[in-house]
């Protein structure tokens, strides 16, 4: 894109996102008004909860880390024509691998331990995503269905591990022992919980962006996603690219598990997947950015703000915590609809080369 076009593109995107957020908060206000609370107070306490103190900013960032990883994972896959909705399971595989390896191998120095954990968790997720990719290419089994089905198997494996072979010393709580300090992602600001996982997540997004847009292999991934028959016609090995995209996606999703186990929580716990697991939420994180790896950083943060802010919204404005789900859903719908409207109205430049036919 020419520079002027690029500027217009980003101005357009910013404008349409800002408008969708405004409409979204407007629509959400109806729900807040209906239970007799003041929407402005509610939104104020929401922002206060997410940004009010350095401590709350740190918590918001922490909540965003797994969402950025799973969002990036979804973006890579969807961008390359493989619809991976198994990030939840791949995240668990990463979490399992991290906990099992960290608690099994003899203590290594941190500069060896962390890269080792990074590798094994990535491989565990990549392996888990590789199975549906193989089934798709070899047998034509729809990857949306297989990845969805494969989400539960690791969930039960976690349940087994934390109450069986790797249960903590006292054998009471359903969790593993805490990881040795050298296996923990270090906090980088003294006194705050926010840890190295945030840096890894952002670096991963940048690397994936550079890979997809600045390398010829990345171009082949995107071409496969944009128009499969045309990509095949160009001589791109589309099956191989889809397989690779899926494996990369699974590995990235697994890093969300690494970040939870070796960073935020410090141990593998049962039920660390909340009801709207990070894996499922990550799909929405990716889709609202139109599958842009750098956009994922922003939308991951946005979801993190909503999650952390909703708790203070309940305390401060007496709005039930579940309101955050309604707000999230409305935001996703308004943003997606605005993308659609812009395309319909002929603002092709708004979505630029990110436009995705689906």
């Amino acid at each position: 894109m020419a520079l002027g076009e690029r500027v217009r593109h980003y101005v357009g995107v910013t404008f349409s996102v800002a408008l969708s957020l405004l409409v979204g908060f407007g629509l959400s206000s109806i729900f807040i008004l209906a239970i007799g609370s003041n929407p402005l107070t509610a939104y104020y306490t929401l922002l206060q909860g997410a940004f009010g103190s350095a401590q709350s900013i740190s918590e918001t960032l922490i909540k965003s880390i797994p969402l950025i990883f799973t969002g990036l994972a979804a973006a890579v896959a969807f961008k390359s024509n493989v619809n991976n909705i198994g990030e939840e399971g791949q995240l668990y595989m990463g979490a399992i691998a991290t906990a099992v390896v960290a608690l099994s191998v003899p203590v290594l120095p941190a500069f060896l331990f962390l890269p080792l954990l990074l590798c094994v968790s990535f491989l565990a997720g990549a392996f888990w995503a590789g199975i549906p990719a193989f089934l798709k290419i070899r047998f034509g089994a729809d990857e949306m269905l297989t990845t969805l089905l494969m989400n539960w198997i690791p969930f039960y494996i976690v349940s087994y591990i934390v109450s069986g072979p790797f249960q903590e010393k006292d054998k009471i709580r359903p969790q593993t022992d805490f990881l040795p300090d050298v296996a923990r992602l270090p906090a980088f600001v003294a006194g705050y919980r926010v840890h190295l996982g945030l840096v890894l997540a952002i670096v991963a997004c940048v690397l994936v962006y550079v890979f997809l847009w600045k390398t010829s292999l990345g171009f082949e991934f995107r071409a496969t996603g944009a128009n499969l028959p045309a990509a095949r016609g160009m001589g791109i090995k589309v099956n191989r690219r889809m397989m690779q995209a899926m494996i990369l996606s699974g590995g990235i999703a697994a890093l969300a598990g690494l970040s939870e186990v070796a960073g935020t929580v410090g141990a593998l716990k049962l039920g660390s997947s909340n009801i709207l697991g990070y894996g499922y939420a990550g799909i929405l994180v990716a889709l609202v950015t139109n599958l842009h790896p750098l956009g994922v950083i922003l939308s991951g943060l946005f979801f993190g703000i909503l999650i952390v802010g909703s708790e203070s919204m309940q305390r401060g404005a007496d709005v039930p915590i579940a309101m955050v789900y309604i707000i999230e859903a409305i935001m996703v719908m308004t943003i997606i609809t605005s993308q659609l409207l812009m395309r319909k109205l002929g603002f092709k430049w708004l979505t630029g080369d990110n436009s995705q036919s689906s």
């Binding site: 047998f139 949306m144 089905l149 087994y160 579940a322």
Partner: protein
């Protein structure tokens, strides 16, 4: 010493109860998927159905009105999904996932907004209880397993047979399958793709609402956040396991239900057995069935594909 015969009867009896909401939701989703639309919002829709059923069952003190309210709520979510995915051509993963979150949030929100309570503590709701006819209960094996369930279970078994006939023996069933297989061909022979999909998704949503209502009115007599506990997702797995046909879905739901029940009961009598690993089996089977289904072309070919009339292949 465990009496294994008695153990088996208890496990199966409880398994049927666990299977019921899975079956009901899967019977709805099967029709949606047969028409070519994936409805990923079931989990949230079930939660909404459970909440509405409890709220209105409690207000009117009539479980049937509660049931109807749950179904209506589900129907509305199904309608929103098909409108966004089919009429607005939005990606079905986006619509399904966002409605899942929306319906989930709405269930907790409406409970609080309408009843003014934060929990069901202190609220009474009439329940669907097992019909206990003493004469029937004494029939060996059948008595304590399938003859002492609640009326909704018998209704859903009858429903299985009706739906099997609708899907495979009626013109409407043929239309649904045609639309899911090849929408443009179906359109060319005069089938209204939009109408068929609207009906299937609204019906599928209502069934998900009913499944939720079953959980709050028959199973627990309660409503709380997260009570559906992932069972909507399992229903999707059962649809695949049952290869999109109602009778096989019944079998699939029973297998899931009994394995789940077996795991729960094993936990009590033999805590050292890794029961969790047993719970992974149905998913592994479902994946195997999916691979076989692809070979037999049993998967609706147009599943996940939004139909655009202007892209119809004429000829």
């Amino acid at each position: 010493m465990v009496d294994w015969g008695q153990f088996a009867i208890v496990v199966v009896g409880a398994g049927i109860g666990i299977a019921a909401p899975l079956l009901i939701a899967a019977l709805g989703e099967a029709f949606a998927e047969r028409s070519g639309m994936m409805n990923l919002s079931i989990e949230g829709t079930m939660s909404l159905g459970a909440a509405l059923a409890f709220i209105f069952g409690s207000i009117t003190q009539n479980a049937w009105i509660g049931l109807l309210a749950g179904m209506l709520g589900g129907l509305v979510i199904g309608l929103m999904n098909v409108w966004m995915a089919q009429s607005l051509h939005l990606n079905q993963v986006v619509t399904g996932m966002s409605l899942y979150i929306f319906a989930y949030g709405l269930s907790v929100y409406l409970f609080r907004a309408i009843t003014g309570h934060t929990s069901t503590f202190g609220l009474e709701v009439p329940r669907f209880r097992p019909i206990e006819i003493p004469a029937l209960l004494h029939i060996p094996i059948l008595g304590p397993t399938i003859l002492n369930q609640n009326v909704l279970i018998y209704i859903s078994i009858v429903l299985v047979l009706i739906l099997e006939v609708v899907m495979f023996k009626t013109t409407f069933g043929l239309k649904i399958r045609a639309v899911g297989e090849n929408p443009s061909a179906a359109d060319n022979v005069g089938i209204n793709v939009y109408t068929v999909r609207y009906i299937c998704l609204m019906y599928g949503g209502a069934m998900a609402g009913l499944a939720g209502a079953y959980i709050s009115l028959a199973e627990l007599g309660l409503f709380f956040e997260g009570m559906t506990a992932g069972r909507g997702w399992i229903a999707i797995a059962i649809v695949i396991f049952g290869a999109w046909s109602p009778v096989r879905i019944l079998a699939g739901a029973l297998i899931f239900g009994v394995i789940d029940s077996l795991a729960l009961h094993t936990m009590v009598v033999a805590p050292q057995v890794p029961f969790q690993l047993l719970l992974t089996l149905p998913y592994a089977f479902s994946i195997a069935i999916l691979v076989i289904a692809m070979k037999r072309a049993a998967l609706p070919a147009a599943l996940f594909k939004t139909y655009r009339r202007e892209e119809r292949q004429l000829g």
